[in-house]
């Protein structure tokens, strides 16, 4: 794509600005901020990636992945503020997901061990894990509070904290994983996934693009279930004290 073509794409920003102004939606300022931020952020990432790809230094790959994990933790931890030590639980979850998925991809030689593959795939895995983590924490917090009576009933009958919170825990894991599974059922029917579309536009063979997209989809299935399960099992003990009582 030429620089001129890129400048012309700003027409797609002018249309919402015009409509917002005409309909007095008050979205002009946010639209402009979003546009400027996306241009700066994406170009910055582009230059950084180019530098890392050219240097082929493994340290930079680690640094990039660490940055991604740091940003994901920062975003997700606000949703789990009521859970003691949530920051480290999120760090551990994202690190395990990253090691697990890259371990399988590289260990089985599914993808080459180069920055060009490791960084984008890590970004997708960590980004999805973050969204899943937020979904899980939201659901878990509300389940625990709405099922408080049930939890105390089970404790009062001689149940352990794990038995008492099992309903809330499993319901939250299920609820946060379902959207990933559901979205995969309709993929390709309504819209082509972003990564696949990008590859096709860039000139890749559509079947190659499909194969990569399938890789991503399967990767995200593991990401979804591992993220919510890990976060769940790391988080539930913080809802109880050492006398097996519910902490408010």
């Amino acid at each position: 794509m030429s620089a001129l073509a890129l400048i012309l794409t700003l027409v797609f920003v002018l249309i919402p600005l015009f409509l917002s102004k005409t309909l007095q939606l008050g979205l002009e300022k946010d639209t402009l901020i979003a546009t400027v931020r996306s241009i700066i952020q994406l170009f910055a990432v582009g230059y950084v990636l180019q530098f890392i790809f050219d240097s082929e230094n493994i340290l930079y790959i680690f640094l990039m992945v660490a940055l991604m994990i740091g940003a994901a933790v920062e975003n997700a931890r606000k949703k789990g503020a009521s859970i003691r030590g949530i920051t480290w639980k999120l760090v551990l979850t994202f690190v395990v997901i990253e090691v697990l998925t890259q371990g399988i991809l590289l260990g089985l030689h599914i993808t080459p061990a180069t920055a060009q593959y490791i960084i984008p795939l890590s970004g997708m895995v960590i980004g999805n894990s973050m969204v899943l983590g937020i979904l899980f924490l939201n659901r878990f917090t509300s389940e625990v509070s709405s099922r408080r009576e049930e939890t105390e009933l089970i404790l009062s009958l001689g149940g352990t904290p794990k038995q008492a919170i099992q309903h809330s825990l499993l319901a939250s894991i299920k609820a946060s994983t379902i959207p990933t599974i559901e979205s995969q059922k309709t993929i390709g029917l309504v819209q082509l996934p972003g990564m696949m579309s990008g590859q096709i536009i860039a000139g890749a063979d559509p079947l190659q693009a499909v194969m990569f997209q399938l890789l991503i989809l399967f990767l995200l299935l593991t990401t979804a279930i591992v993220t919510s399960t890990m976060l769940g099992f790391l988080s539930y003990p913080t809802k109880f004290n050492e006398r097996m009582q519910v902490i408010d």
């Binding site: 009933l153 089970i154 404790l155 009958l157 001689g158 352990t160 309903h167 006398r243 097996m244 009582q245």
Partner: protein, 241 residues
């Protein structure tokens, strides 16, 4: 002869960040007897039960169960030993049978068909109810299932929190008879929170009157006819109106 205490409270205090709910209670519940706890709402009666069952820990003082400090008990065995039936009779999703099976399931055991039928009949319900969805039961039926569920743990001490408040007169009398029978046949110590002074007098041998997180007066059940404490006199008079 000094009778043994099932539960002994020594200067027990329970406070939250906002309120002092139990204000230094000292007293004992006699082993093998039925003791009624009466008092106005907000007196701390339910909190006292939650302290005895280990769902809460006191902020100060000591609780002894059969002479042993409560903190020396493993919470799971304490809660099986000191059973509690709560006023709200919470039912878990599933059938009545699933709910009855819960205490045994938590202990890795199974509820046999004979046991389920025996327990459900014991609380005055028809065995046909076992397969019904527990959420479709009436308040009274839920309360009876809730009692049967706690009894399946065979507790030595049974804490009953307003368990007949949602029942009609006949069901209430059935439950009273059942609890008296359990106390008589198994020697289970029963501590029963009730708003109904007539019920307290008909089932209990001893009574505690709790007001504002303290024991205003305690003694044999006949005490309710001749209280000495002015607050208790006022409470009894109000309840009889």
């Amino acid at each position: 002869m000094i009778q043994q205490a099932a539960i002994t409270l020594q200067e027990v205090v329970y406070e939250t960040e906002e309120n002092k709910i139990i204000c230094g209670i000292t007293g004992r519940f006699t082993k093998g007897k039925i003791t009624a706890i009466v008092g106005p709402s907000g007196a701390g009666k339910t909190t006292l039960f939650r302290l005895c069952n280990g769902l809460l820990s006191p902020s100060g003082g000591n609780i002894l169960i059969n002479g042993k400090e409560i903190l020396t008990f493993d919470p799971v065995s304490l809660r099986r030993h000191v059973g509690i039936v709560l006023q709200q009779a919470t039912m878990l999703e599933g059938s009545v049978r699933d709910n009855l099976a819960l205490p045994l399931q938590l202990d890795g055991k199974e509820l046999t068909d004979d046991e389920a039928q025996r327990m459900i009949q014991l609380v005055g319900l028809d065995p046909d109810i076992l397969e019904r969805n527990s959420r479709d039961l009436s308040g009274g039926q839920k309360q009876k299932v809730s009692i049967a569920r706690t009894l399946l743990n065979e507790p030595e001490i049974l804490l009953l929190d307003e368990i007949t408040s949602s029942l009609d007169r006949v069901s209430r009398q059935d439950i009273e008879k059942l609890i008296e029978w359990i106390n008589r046949e198994t020697g289970t110590t029963v501590i029963w929170i009730t708003h109904n002074l007539e019920q307290a007098k008909s089932v209990a041998e001893e009574v505690w009157v709790m007001i504002d997180g303290r024991i205003a007066e305690a003694g044999p059940i006949e005490m309710l006819d001749h209280p000495e404490n002015d607050d208790v006199k006022h409470f009894v008079m109000e309840e009889r109106k």
